[in-house]
């Protein structure tokens, strides 16, 4: 069969898969579409009126959008948690689910890029970033670095995952000599995207809250909690709703890795808090705004302590083997980690970084309805992309969606997603 026909079969087959689903599937899709449409209207309003419809102002010039962006870079980076043991140590139980980690990374990067896009004041000039017509201020601007590494990471993951899946669809083994080096490259790249994103803030001497070397390691530690948290819930859903087999062992292993990551995250937070409170310079102000509030300005305080409580709870649940093997406790732990890290990496990073402003003015930021709607829209686009990709990827991985046996499920003797010699 020639390439064009094969690809046509793949496209039509994928379309058919995506359009087939039970009522739960369609309800989920409908909910996402509603949120996307609502977000699109909110964004159109923002483009017309300007960013004045957000709660951001000169004092707090970044807010909810950039907070979400930062959090999602962490989610995207966390795919490595799965890639490292799977490929480097050839750890079989996780190996099968790496593909889903990479799909998650791809969806997360889509959301990251969208969050940056909705934040800029002149989306019509986005092309100014793209050489040769535009001018990317590389290597001086860390934002230029971020644009580069995020896009490379996106292409890398997308290429690997589509190659593996497409080859499985065509009934051929994937080309090991191409995939393995790319996967190995994606490991430093994942660390890279999050380090560069941390440096984006870290490099600003004007903002003492960010200008701390602990930022990059702390970003990585928290990312290695939040990314897998999403994945653990997803894997259980897959196991429940499809024939996909995921061993308990794999899930518990990931949970154990998350416990260590959360320990480091909490430790690094403690280290930073010690330095700030014990030395008590004027730079303590920002940390105090987050944990204690400044005078009557206390908007962020409940969020700060919720994040601490959620992270501690999650750590407790994940470090005790008996607890992480209990499904209820495990899922509660995942939710706690997800929300804890979401708060500390999103609003908890951006807002105290900018409040009080560089000359001591306190403007209390809280996202506007427009910002919430746009953000919900962006998240929904990400979830939609993820859902649709899974809808195709899962049957391929299960060997149900293949060019030579599209309707047959009797030949499942060979493990799908196999490497070849090339």
């Amino acid at each position: 069969m020639n390439t064009a026909r094969l690809f046509a079969r793949f496209t039509t087959g994928s379309l058919r898969l995506v359009l087939r689903g039970n009522s739960t599937y369609w309800a989920w899709i409908a909910a996402l579409v509603v949120l996307i449409v609502s977000g699109a209207f909110a964004y159109a309003h923002q483009v017309r009126a300007g960013l004045t419809v957000t709660a951001m102002r000169d004092q707090v010039s970044w807010g909810f959008y950039i907070g979400n962006f930062t959090f999602l870079v962490g989610v995207a980076a966390a795919a490595v948690v799965l890639v490292i043991p799977a490929y480097v140590y050839d750890w079989k139980p996780i190996r099968q689910i790496v593909v889903y980690g990479e799909l998650l990374a791809v969806s997360a990067i889509v959301m990251c890029l969208l969050f940056v896009f909705v934040d800029i004041g002149r989306p019509d000039r986005f092309w100014h970033l793209l050489p040769p017509v535009g001018h990317l201020n590389f290597p001086t601007s860390l934002l230029a670095w971020d644009v580069l590494v995020l896009n490379i990471y996106f292409v890398l993951n997308f290429a690997v995952v589509t190659h593996i899946l497409y080859r499985a669809f065509s009934g051929r083994p994937y080309i090991k000599s191409v995939v393995v080096p790319l996967v190995l490259l994606s490991i430093p790249m994942a660390v890279g995207i999050h380090t560069v994103t941390a440096f984006l803030y870290n490099g600003l001497a004007a903002r003492p809250y960010w200008n701390a070397s602990i930022l990059a390691p702390q970003f990585l530690a928290s990312a290695f909690c939040s990314g897998p948290a999403i994945l653990l819930i997803l894997l259980q859903l897959l196991r429940r709703f499809t024939r996909f087999e995921i061993q308990d062992e794999a899930i518990w292993k990931i949970a154990e890795l998350m416990a260590y990551a959360m320990f480091f995250n909490l430790f690094l937070h403690g280290v930073e808090a010690f330095k700030e409170y014990y030395s008590a310079t004027e730079h303590l102000l920002y940390t105090r705004y987050w944990y204690q509030g400044l005078g009557e300005h206390r908007t962020m305080v409940p969020y700060a302590w919720s994040a601490v409580a959620l992270n501690l709870t999650a750590f407790g649940l994940f470090i005790v083997p008996a607890a992480r093997r209990n499904w209820v406790a495990l899922n509660l732990g995942c939710l706690a980690i997800y929300s804890g890290v979401y708060i500390e990496k999103g609003m908890g990073l951006i807002i105290p970084g900018l409040t009080p402003d560089t000359l001591g003015d306190i403007y209390e930021y809280y996202p506007s309805l427009t910002e919430l709607r746009v953000a919900a829209g962006v998240f929904s686009i990400g979830f939609l992309v993820f859902t649709l990709m899974l809808k195709v990827a899962v049957p391929i991985a299960l060997g149900e969606f293949r060019v030579d046996r599209e309707a047959r499920s009797d030949v499942l003797d060979r493990l799908p997603l196999q490497p070849g010699r090339a």
């Binding site: 010039s61 970044w62 004041g121 970033l129 860390l142 001497a205 402003d357």
Partner: protein, 254 residues
């Protein structure tokens, strides 16, 4: 960009602005003069906090009237605490200034020799000119606001909404890198009144100051007032530890 193309662009801008505002608007592109390094000095012992500089700047530089954008912010400080921004009040509004026990610190772009804002711009829309003025190309800025996060002096301001500038209130003598009308969604800031200073005039804030607290001149001219101040007065810069090397000095003349 080739010179002819730039001139074409500038003529086009002049046409646009003239049509929009109903007066003949000029857009200059006067380059930095050789042998000139601009610097500014502000006498903290004289400033009375009247904010005339703030509003003269708004009129000269065509800032948006609604929402209001001010390139200069004046902080009221308590004499007991000294120069301490954490206890300063930019919103002071007493019936009369100066208030007892207070002094005033106006802050605007410090035109750093080592500007953190320029370093971070992802598209190179802001740079330092040969005479030391840090400028922004409003037609190239993408509005990411990274420069605002990087500026230690809160000098950069964003056009959160479409700037409004009533027809009669436009200052028609503009510079491409300075006070020409700005669009929505871009960053702007003080340019030492580039349209005036490159034509041999003082910035508007210097001219309007009723107590002569504001001084401006060429650092390379040994006979200039600015050189005299730096050589003979107690001079300080804001946030010296950040190594931004401001071209904006504060001093105590008395």
């Amino acid at each position: 960009m080739p010179k002819e193309r730039l001139h074409e662009l500038i003529r086009e801008l002049e046409r646009q602005y003239t049509e929009t505002y109903g007066t003949a608007v000029t857009v200059a592109d006067t380059p930095a003069l050789p042998g000139v390094q601009f610097a500014y000095a502000l006498d903290l012992s004289r400033c009375i906090g009247c904010r005339r500089c703030v509003y003269a700047c708004v009129e000269e530089n065509n800032q948006s009237r609604d929402p209001q954008i001010h390139w200069i912010r004046v902080y009221a400080m308590e004499k007991e605490k000294g120069v301490d921004f954490q206890h300063a009040n930019p919103y002071y509004d007493p019936p009369q200034v100066p208030e007892d026990g207070h002094f005033y610190v106006p802050v605007q772009c410090q035109q750093c020799e080592n500007p953190p804002c320029v370093k971070v711009c992802p598209v190179g829309a802001t740079w330092r000119e040969g005479d030391g003025i840090v400028v922004i190309d409003y037609d190239w800025c993408i509005g990411c606001r990274y420069c605002m996060a990087a500026c230690p002096y809160g000098a950069r301001h964003f056009n959160w909404a479409e700037p409004t500038l009533p027809k009669g209130q436009l200052n028609p003598k503009t510079h491409y890198l300075g006070n020409r009308p700005r669009p929505k969604g871009v960053v702007e800031k003080c340019t030492f009144c580039i349209q005036r200073t490159r034509a041999g005039r003082y910035p508007a804030c210097v001219e309007v100051c009723p107590v002569g607290a504001r001084k401006f001149g060429n650092l390379l001219d040994p006979g200039s007032e600015i050189r005299y101040i730096i050589e003979h007065k107690r001079v300080l810069v804001l946030k010296e530890d950040l190594n931004t090397v401001p071209r904006f000095f504060y001093f105590y003349a008395t």
